[in-house]
């Protein structure tokens, strides 16, 4: 079984992000990591391959040289092959153009399953995965917390988290699955994996390789346009309620009585 995993290198949740003075962009501290939900996606792909005992796990990311780090992390975990899709024309795109380029690249590959994370930590959009499935013309399931591949390798049965419960869905292959927390515990890359990742070649793709014109992707092809970035309003300083616990509680109850009516 051949599995493609979409990954993304994202700022760590601890990284400082500053809005440029004129609101035209952001400055991000140099603390990046493989997107958490993508590590779940890769772990699941590896487990499926290991269980079946054959096949290939291929990573792909759209980005810049910085994104190679995510691919190396993935190889260290056990992926067989990694592609970086990089081109000046792909810069400043949106979910639509990113998905279009990724789908074009995946189209040329031999795949039975596509995995991705539920969303990326930076934009929390969760749209690229389903849109890749749209361009590939295959079904998709998001928020996946359990995957079972049938013994004939023709279908999967997955559990999907919904508000207050779960859905069980059966899908014919190929299908795209977006992983949600709870799916698995991603492995820590073994030292041999880390050594392999340092040696392994990352394959590079650009616009010429994927049969897309510059006008269809990146800033030119994007449907959404960011008009302005800004800092969220700050909460006023905290008011500490002090004293004996019973007095603290009574003051809070008085406040809540007022608040719950007006909120």
């Amino acid at each position: 079984m051949n599995i493609v995993v979409l990954v993304k290198q994202v700022p760590d949740s601890e990284a400082m992000v500053q809005v440029k003075a004129n609101g035209s962009g952001v400055d991000i501290e140099e603390k990046y990591t493989l997107n958490f939900f993508d590590s779940l996606a890769l772990e699941e792909a590896l487990q499926i391959k290991e269980k079946i005992g054959s096949g290939k796990v291929t990573l792909i990311t759209l980005g810049t040289q910085k994104s190679v780090e995510a691919l190396r992390t993935g190889i260290a975990m056990g992926a067989d092959e990694a592609f970086l899709l990089e081109d000046q024309a792909l810069m400043e795109g949106d979910e639509y153009t990113t998905a279009k380029a990724l789908a074009k690249a995946i189209n040329g590959m031999d795949y039975d399953l596509v995995f991705c994370g539920k969303e990326a930590f930076d934009d929390s959009s969760g749209a690229v995965g389903p849109i890749v499935a749209e361009f590939l013309g295959i079904p998709h399931v998001t928020s996946v917390v359990k995957v079972d591949v049938s013994s004939d390798e023709q279908t999967v049965t997955v559990e999907r988290e919904i508000e207050g419960g779960k859905e069980i869905i059966k899908a014919g292959l190929p299908v795209l699955l977006a992983s949600q927390k709870g799916l698995n515990e991603p492995r820590v890359p073994p030292i041999t994996g880390v050594m392999k990742a340092m040696r392994e070649e990352v394959k590079r793709l650009d616009l010429n390789d994927i049969d897309v014109s510059p006008g269809e992707v990146g800033r030119q092809g994007a449907k959404e346009e960011i008009v302005r970035f800004y800092r969220p309003p700050k909460r006023p300083p905290v008011t500490m309620i002090e004293g004996e616990m019973i007095d603290v509680v009574r003051e809070l109850v008085k406040f809540l009585k007022e608040k719950i009516r007006t909120l």
Binding site: V17, T142, T157, G164, K170, V175, V227, F229, R235, L252
Partner: protein, 330 residues
């Protein structure tokens, strides 16, 4: 008929979800400003009553009532809605940011060759009659205003509790349009086999107006009954921090934070929660935050409106008791 403002109506347990009603109020404002009609899309099985209810908000209720729609299936929804969007050409299409809409709306947008703004925390119509959607990026460290000039409809999925509900019942008298479901179910590649556990007595965290969240300071799963009791008095939903979920005290569906649920209640209690950045990213848009922690240096106090330093095992039963006396039995 064209150029309408649309809202997608989600429902659960025979009730329209709160977030859909919030968007109908906002959608009305936009439709009036743009001088067009407000329509709502309702898909389901046995939804006649809901359709009637929606006519008090919208000029038109587009209703698909069919047993095939009893369980959500992305392929079926996509086929019905994309065909109808092509036919009617709305200019704005709003929906709540929920598990269901986040599953199929991105794909709908791509099929329509238009953009989508997910998880919005505000919406407006600008001077050029364009929908301006405000999205949090980097876990809320930054906000961005986005517009879609190059596609129609302009699609936005909005975080629940972003806009107020009507304080009185709607007074419109819209019209229900009953539409045929024309889907060849033999062509479907996805099949929803079963839905496990719904019908919860409490609102989901994402829609709750009051949330009481317990952190590692709760010391063990058995102590969450103290939070349940407080939640009962307040009509609140109980949440959990990542530490609590990772320790297996609570299921992942209860987690508030970046790798869990993002919530925007009117009132948020952080009980024994230290306030790691992951947690803050999931609750920082709450309107009023009250924190109790035994450590006065806990980061949560930097993100709270009211703070109490003390023992939560003393605090919780007292608060529940005093609230019961103050509110009577709610």
């Amino acid at each position: 008929m064209a150029e309408e403002v649309w809202v997608f109506a989600e429902h659960q347990d025979k009730k329209i979800r709160k977030v859909s009603l919030e968007l109908l109020v906002k959608g009305r404002e936009f439709a009036d400003r743009l001088g067009v009609e407000l329509a709502v899309l309702l898909l389901g099985s046995g939804v006649d009553g809901l359709g009637e209810e929606l006519t008090t908000y919208a000029d038109r209720v587009y209703q698909w009532d069919n047993p095939l729609l009893d369980k959500y299936n992305s392929e079926v929804y996509l086929q019905i809605i994309s065909n109808f969007v092509k036919k009617e050409n709305p200019q704005i299409f709003l929906a709540g940011a929920t598990f269901l809409t986040r599953d199929f709306f991105p794909r709908l947008a791509a099929r329509m060759e238009t953009g989508i703004a997910v998880d919005c925390v505000n919406l407006d119509v600008d001077g050029n009659n364009l929908l301006m959607a405000r999205r949090p990026l980097f876990g809320g460290k930054v906000l961005a205003d986005v517009v879609c000039r190059k596609g129609r409809p302009q699609i936005a999925l909005v975080r629940p509790n972003t806009f107020p509900l009507l304080t009185t019942k709607g007074t419109r008298k819209g019209k229900v349009h009953k539409l045929m479901v024309d889907v060849d179910s033999s062509q479907l590649k996805l099949q929803v086999v079963e839905i496990l556990g719904s019908a919860k007595e409490r609102l989901d965290l994402t829609e709750a107006e009051i949330i009481v969240t317990g952190g590692r300071g709760m010391k063990g799963p058995e102590n969450f009954k103290l939070l349940e009791e407080l939640a009962d008095v307040l009509g609140a939903t109980v949440g959990a921090s990542r530490a609590v979920v990772d320790s297996g005290w609570k299921p992942h569906g209860d987690q508030v934070g970046k790798s869990g649920k993002t919530v925007s209640p009117k009132l948020y209690f952080a009980v024994g929660v230290s306030g790691a950045i992951h947690h803050i990213m999931g609750m920082d848009t709450s309107k009023v935050v009250i924190a109790i922690n035994k450590d006065q240096r806990a980061p949560i106090f930097q993100y709270a409106d009211y703070g109490i330093v003390g023992d939560l095992f003393e605090f919780l039963p007292l608060l529940t008791k005093e609230l019961k006396e103050a509110f009577g039995s709610r």
